[in-house]
């Protein structure tokens, strides 16, 4: 009795907060049929927005993966002064509001700012251009890869690497042949999380991009801009696409999650 009522309360809450909104995207997107949906999705500005999204997300994920693996090894395998501080700093991006991220980057890399100015003099724009958006995306997804692989690294211990050393492998060889394969599922999991985060970033990128349509507009910015211009169809079409990507990510994560526990 108590069990059923708990279940009802939980499911009702979830229904109104989670399930119905998801259902509504599908409904609104295809309210006018598949045709308009497809037209909106394949419109040049939409396609371009998608391209920009990829241009920003992929370098960010790659950068954070390299950084993530390095830092995870540093945190797990070495003892040094300030280790706890480093660990806390890694988590810092999670606590910062996306708009603050944008502001922070503008202050440092903007055209009139110290570092940004140096680049601007050489004709490279960081803020209001792709590089700045990449930086913003890196910022917000920084902890994801590290936090995915650190526990696994901790769990498998260092003995396999030591065995490889005694067999004659250099540190790099041991890393490439033993360490990376051992953490590959956790690494994949972290990368998928990071990719999802990068594809879906809105706030930080909105501030940093200047939202120049057809130039620095990612898919998320596209949604907002189209909606603001009363082009609901396009906004919903792009939202649907993003939602599909989100769900696909969730499925991938479910697949990868049990695997990283069996090693």
């Amino acid at each position: 009795m108590a069990k059923v009522s708990l279940r009802v309360v939980a499911l009702t809450y979830l229904l109104f907060l989670l399930v119905l909104p998801v259902a509504v995207i599908c409904w609104r997107t295809f309210a006018n049929g598949f045709g308009p949906f497809w037209d909106a999705l394949t419109a040049p500005s939409a396609v371009h927005a998608f391209q920009v999204t990829l241009q920003v997300a992929i370098p960010a994920v790659i950068a954070n993966t390299i950084f993530g693996v390095g830092v995870a090894i540093l945190l797990v395998r070495h003892r040094f002064v300030g280790r706890k501080v480093l660990s806390a700093l890694i988590d810092l991006p999670l606590a910062v509001s996306p708009v603050v991220v944008g502001l922070a980057l503008i202050l440092v890399y903007g055209r009139f700012a110290p570092i940004g100015g140096w680049f601007a003099d050489r004709g490279i724009d960081i803020i209001f251009a792709i590089p700045g958006m990449i930086l913003a995306t890196i910022f917000v997804s920084l902890p994801l890869v590290v936090r995915a692989i650190a526990p696994v690294l901790e769990e498998i211990g260092i003995e396999q690497e030591q065995a490889a050393w005694t067999l004659g492998a250099t540190s790099w060889q041991a890393f490439r042949r033993v360490t990376i394969p051992a953490i590959r599922w956790a690494l994949a999991y972290g990368m998928v999380l990071a990719l999802a985060r990068c594809l879906g970033e809105y706030g930080a990128v909105a501030v940093v991009s200047g939202n120049l349509v057809d130039q620095t507009q990612t898919l998320t910015l596209f949604v907002q801009e189209r909606f603001g211009n009363f082009d609901a169809q396009s906004a919903y079409a792009a939202s649907f696409a993003l939602a599909v990507i989100a769900v696909a990510t969730l499925l991938l994560i479910q697949l990868l999650r049990p695997k990283e526990g069996t090693r």
Binding site: E159, Q160, Q162, A163, A164, W165, T166, G168, R177
Partner: protein, 317 residues
């Protein structure tokens, strides 16, 4: 072959090794024996290059190896928990060292098959370590270490994670393997039965220091200290000194040099009998043959006379 000279190692405040010097002869099978925390694993790992000593030197085959990386020492190392490369097949595991040394594929396959035959794992070549039993994984680890023809083979409590039965089998198997392959082998154990059964020579370590070095017989018959004596075999106290329970002779009548004892319990243990008694309130136990026990026909409460059988006086010599 391996010479450790005045090796010291501290971990923070903990002194793992204090002024340890020992020689390990070429081709021998040596055990580092002692209680947990005594420094044996630390010494082994220093020989392998997985730890660096704070002071002192390590020489392997005459070359100063103290600062050499593990990659360059050509030592095979077998870990207590196998350290198997979980994502590689058994064959790939065994061939790993050869692959690093860029040997040809045919050579690697040949050598891997040789070794798998040696350790009786031929039919498991394409399986993964997770599909093997503990004993099989350890044999694989051994094959892997031997594949690169190391000058020294080091094993860190190799059978510690295995069942009692498997442990006994692998012990005998290691001895036979050494007789075939003749690589200088050093293994760490806290099990004195294992050390006594397998090793040519035993180095007893405790509290970061070497207590005694010798053959199993030497250590058993002529222990250098009470610690070594009680670590290596059963002991009991008579007249304030440690004696072996099977060196005690019991008689029904008073004899020269014998002390009176009151019997507490008589327990049959296989083909031997354990007699628990007290001498002036102090507990003591003796190990006698069934024959002797029947002869004496002791009951709890009886008085019996106990004396130590001195080696010189032993009729068997």
């Amino acid at each position: 072959m391996i010479r450790a000279s005045h090796v010291c190692k501290n971990f923070g405040d903990f002194a793992a090794l204090t002024d340890v010097s020992v020689d390990i002869p070429t081709g021998s099978l040596t055990a580092l024996l002692g209680p947990s925390g005594g420094g044996k694993s630390t010494l082994l790992r220093i020989i392998a290059g997985l730890e660096t000593p704070d002071s002192g030197t390590i020489e392997i085959a005459g070359a100063d190896s103290t600062r050499m990386s593990p990659q360059n020492r050509n030592v095979g190392f077998v870990f207590q928990h196998y350290a198997a490369f979980k994502h590689m097949t058994v064959a790939s595991n065994v061939g790993f060292g050869l692959k690093i040394r860029k040997r040809s594929k045919t050579e690697i396959t040949k050598r891997v098959n040789e070794l798998l035959e040696l350790v009786h794992l031929e039919q498991f070549a394409q399986r993964y370590p997770a599909q093997l039993s503990g004993g099989q994984r350890q044999r694989m680890a051994l094959a892997r270490a031997l594949a690169v023809e190391p000058q020294v083979l080091l094993l860190d409590e190799p059978f510690g994670a295995l069942d009692a039965q498997v442990r006994k089998e692998l012990r005998a198997w290691l001895r036979r393997l050494h007789d075939d392959v003749h690589v200088t082998t050093v293994f760490v154990t806290h099990d004195q039965e294992e050390a006594m059964e397998v090793a040519d020579s035993i180095v007893v370590m405790a509290d970061g220091k070497i207590q005694q070095v010798g053959t199993p017989d030497e250590l058993y018959e002529r222990p250098a200290s009470d610690f070594v004596m009680s670590f290596l075999g059963p002991v009991t106290t008579l007249g304030g000194r440690l004696v072996r329970p099977h060196d005690l002779v019991l008689s029904a009548e008073p004899v020269d040099g014998a002390v009176a004892a009151v019997v507490e319990r008589v327990v049959r243990l296989g083909f031997e009998v354990r007699v628990d008694a007290t001498v002036g309130g102090q507990p003591i136990w003796a190990q006698v043959t069934r024959y002797r026990s029947q002869l004496l026909d002791l009951r709890p409460g009886d008085t019996v006379f106990v004396r130590v059988l001195e080696p010189a006086a032993s009729p068997v010599g």
